[in-house]
């Protein structure tokens, strides 16, 4: 009964989505306020319906309803409750439902929080979001219905993929989808601007908090994904340049560019056509990511069950949505030319450079991701593009970005004076150079040129970010007042840039100074790595809720003192028969110690020697902290009062215009 209700709710949501797309569009054409007003209530109704469908599916999971094919394929009677609830997005059908829930959630949020915007703009944007909903709902109902029934009903489920039974996975996909789908709002606003022909500073101000919010979720999602892979995949890696990772990284790069170009559009009323293009592209890349992940055109570790029918559907959808968007762009964007002059040495000039680097980086990632597909299409063989390409292309493109970030607050809008900038920048530059040179030595690492360069860049970013706060505090006589008067937008930017610095520092050190070793150890034997002794104390059998494990204990000592006790496991999941490596990590800000259990040397003697992998990874945590700090900066920036106040003011003026 409950699954049928869920299915019905999805069909009802489709009907509402059609209304949400058609009625307000008609209203905009006829300038009929009442028809436009339908958009908001339709968006909220649609959200309620999808939420109901989502609850139905969750209910089926929690109550172990094996009559639902999707539940039977991705759950098991022994699966703990938390994973039964999150198994909803453990495979394709359910994650599309989660995706839809997010899309309708964002639409409902637009309808609630933007009531004071010009009604035709909101109506157009919501109609665009409604049209996107139609596409995704049709996709779910026609090719990926999570409520499809099973007959005969199996005795038990086939269990959730053990890789996904991890806390990191519980929050990673929802965050990622919030980000992907969040860019649909910027997209919808961009289309609305193209249709109405109105694109001004006010438009940029409306779009900014939405974009920043989507971006911060995407940032969290990517960071969590990296953390999850590190913990769960058991080979100590945290980024693989896998097509699916790239699919999330490309919208992030373009979304970052969009945040910065929106600033220029808001403050200087420039780069307008470019900003609109980025808004379309950020969402286009999100759609492209969906296509790549779910159509099976590329080989990836993220093995979703692939189905050619799904690929054809998404490709058609993508072609229609983006075809319309880019045609509109080609037709209307030439109108958005600004007259103001543009100096390269100014904040807008540097932001333009920032955009160029970010977009070129995104293009490089796209090329690397699609290259195997192109080669295959040309019948030239099968290739795969690996980390060497991406690292070779990506690092030279991002290093200049880190340099630019340092100038973020020192260079003013319109036209900056080189001498003043130099006066402000020389102290941070000196600190960065000296500390950067000293850092590997201070931490006891051998001196490497690349590490020094990376350290300098990171410190430059961090010091200049801190300098901005210090400068603003000093500018006031009352220091405390100076601190509290800093606008949240400035805090947000500073925190995000600080996060970037931390991230660069982490990446530089972890990529250059990581040490790993494959060792064979019997109980009581030890291996030494970077001054740490890893003392293997053997394994003991343990029983989990739905798996059996060999539970190992490794004591880590330094200079005879115990610094950590690590407990890696090798698990055999009953239902799927899959072996999983559960690594164990001890961490602080400066280093991670990571142990993964391999195989027992003699298959039948778990009490004998084992193959182990041990890693020493300096500053590993900083990579993720950097990501989370960036996301936190986004959160602070998006909550700036200015957006709320500006909305009120905007409403007052547009109301006055309408009256006149």
């Amino acid at each position: 009964m409950i699954p049928e209700l869920g299915h019905f709710a999805l069909i009802a949501a489709l009907v509402v989505a059609i209304l949400q797309a058609a009625v307000p569009a008609l209203g905009v054409v006829r300038r009929d306020r009442r028809l436009m007003a339908v958009a908001g209530s339709a968006a909220q109704t649609q959200f309620a319906l999808i939420f109901a469908a989502y609850l139905c599916l969750s209910y089926a999971f929690v109550t172990r309803d094996w009559s639902v094919a999707y539940v039977a394929a991705n759950s098991h009677s022994d699966l703990p409750l938390v994973y039964r609830a999150t198994a909803v997005w453990g495979a394709h059908e359910g994650s599309m439902l989660l995706w839809m829930l997010m899309l309708s959630g964002w639409s409902a949020a637009v309808s609630v929080f933007n009531r004071r915007l010009p009604p035709d703009l909101v109506a157009t944007a919501l109609a665009v979001l409604g049209a996107l909903s139609i596409g995704f709902l049709l996709f779910i109902l026609l090719t990926s219905n999570p409520f499809d029934l099973n007959f005969p009903v199996p005795e038990d489920g086939r269990d959730l993929n053990p890789l996904l039974q991890d806390p990191g996975f519980v929050i990673h996909p929802p965050m990622l989808y919030m980000g992907y789908v969040g860019f649909s709002v910027a997209f919808a606003f961009a289309i609305a601007a193209l249709i109405s022909g109105r694109l001004d500073a006010a438009w940029a101000r409306w779009t900014r908090p939405w974009t920043t919010t989507a971006w911060l979720f995407l940032t969290c999602g990517i960071t969590l994904g990296s953390w999850w892979a590190y913990n769960e995949l058991g080979w100590g890696g945290w980024w693989f340049w896998d097509p699916v990772e790239n699919a999330s990284f490309m919208p992030w790069l373009v979304g970052t560019a969009l945040i910065h170009s929106l600033a220029v559009t808001e403050k200087r009323d420039q780069m307008k056509a470019w900003t609109v293009l980025l808004a379309i592209l950020a969402f286009a890349l999100s759609l492209l990511g969906t296509f790549l992940v779910r159509s099976g055109v590329l080989v990836s570790v993220h093995a979703f069950a692939t189905d050619p029918a799904r690929g054809v559907f998404i490709l058609t959808f993508l072609a229609i949505v983006l075809g319309i968007a880019f045609t509109l762009y080609a037709w209307r964007a030439p109108k958005f030319v600004s007259q103001a002059d543009f100096a390269l040495f100014s904040r807008e000039g540097l932001l333009l450079l920032n955009n160029v680097f970010l977009v070129v980086a995104a293009t490089a990632v796209l090329l690397g991701t699609l290259y195997p597909l192109v080669i295959d299409a040309l019948n030239a063989g099968k290739v795969s593009v690996g980390p060497p390409y991406f690292n070779a292309v990506f690092i030279p493109l991002t290093a200049p970005l880190a340099v630019l970030v340092g100038f973020a607050s020192a260079v003013g809008w319109k036209r900056a004076k080189a001498r003043e900038v130099w006066k402000r920048m020389r102290a941070p530059a000196a600190i960065a150079v000296v500390l950067g040179l000293a850092l590997p030595w201070l931490l006891g690492h051998p001196t490497k040129l690349v590490a020094i360069a990376g350290g300098m860049l990171a410190l430059w970013v961090i010091v200049t970010a801190l300098q901005e706060i210090v400068r603003r505090v000093r500018a006031r006589r009352d220091r405390l007042q100076g601190l509290t008067q800093i606008p949240r937008a400035v805090w947000g930017m500073t925190i995000a840039h600080l996060g970037l610095g931390v991230w660069v520092l982490g990446i530089s050190f972890v990529s250059l100074y990581s040490v790993e070793k494959d060792v064979r150890l019997g109980p009581g034997q030890a291996a030494t790595l970077s001054g740490y002794d890893f003392l293997f104390q053997g394994t003991e059998p343990r029983r989990g809720p739905n798996y059996d494990a060999d539970h190992g204990t490794v004591e880590v000592r330094r200079d005879g003192r115990t610094v950590a006790t690590l407990t890696p496991e090798k698990r055999l999941y009953h239902a799927t028969g899959q072996l999983m490596t559960e690594s164990s990590v001890d961490h602080n800000a400066l280093r991670d110690l990571y142990v993964a259990l391999g195989e027992p040397i003699d298959k039948n003697n778990a009490a004998g020697d084992w193959a182990l992998r041990v890693y020493y990874k300096p500053m590993m945590r900083l990579v993720w902290w950097g990501g989370f700090i960036m996301a936190f900066g986004g959160l602070v920036a998006a909550s700036d009062r200015r957006y709320r106040l500006a909305k009120l003011r905007e409403a007052a003026t547009s109301g006055a215009e309408a009256a006149a």
Binding site: A273, L277, I280, L281, A284, L288, F291, S295, G296, V297, L298, V299, P308, G311, V312, L315, L318, A319, L322, G323, F326, T327, Y329, A330, W331, A333, P334, L370, P372, L373, V374, D376, A377, K382, T576, G577, Q578
Partner: protein, 173 residues
């Protein structure tokens, strides 16, 4: 309409064409170097009958499917019902119990059903090594001369059977 504003639309067209072409292909399809070559020789015994040898000579004389499976292999369980159906239609499948103990293999077949005309035990995986098996299940199609004409990595399904394998056998449903 100025030209540079049209660029995104043109790029999109190019990408859509590329993807449409890509959808027709299977990126996981790795051509086996053994296709078109005679199947490597082996000398093993029938499962449960160590005294009864089974060699390459026993595979010749008619087109045949050689399926590598194991009791420890989850994907084999997925493939199994389809093999049962093929067997029911009279398709001859030779099973190679790959890197498995005889007892486990026999128990697995007893529980789920046996789609194989003959089951050969390859407990050390020696034959699998010579034949280039990545992991179970894998299915080789041999013609009457004992030449490998097709190789399927992963479970055999309806679509692959219909499009690729059945035409090679010159028969099928």
């Amino acid at each position: 309409m100025r030209l540079r504003y049209v660029v995104p639309a043109l790029v999109l067209v190019g990408l859509v064409v590329l993807f449409a072409a890509g959808l027709k292909r299977d990126p996981r399809e790795v051509p086996s170097p053994l296709i078109g070559k005679p199947a490597p020789a082996f000398s093993l015994a029938v499962l449960g009958h160590p005294e009864q040898p089974y060699t390459i000579a026993d595979l010749k004389g008619r087109a045949v499917l050689v399926n590598f499976f194991a009791s420890w292999c989850a994907a084999c369980r997925v493939e199994h019902p389809f093999l049962m159906r093929l067997a029911g239609q009279g398709v001859e499948i030779i099973g190679i119990d790959y890197k498995d103990s005889d007892a486990d293999g026999a128990a697995w077949l007893a529980r789920h059903g046996n789609p194989y005309r003959t089951v050969v035990a390859d407990p050390q995986g020696a034959m699998g090594l010579d034949w280039g098996v990545y992991g179970a299940p894998e299915t080789y199609v041999l013609d009457a001369a004992g030449t490998i004409v097709y190789k399927q990595i992963g479970p055999l399904g309806e679509e692959v059977w219909r499009d690729k394998v059945a035409p090679l056998l010159g028969a099928g449903p």
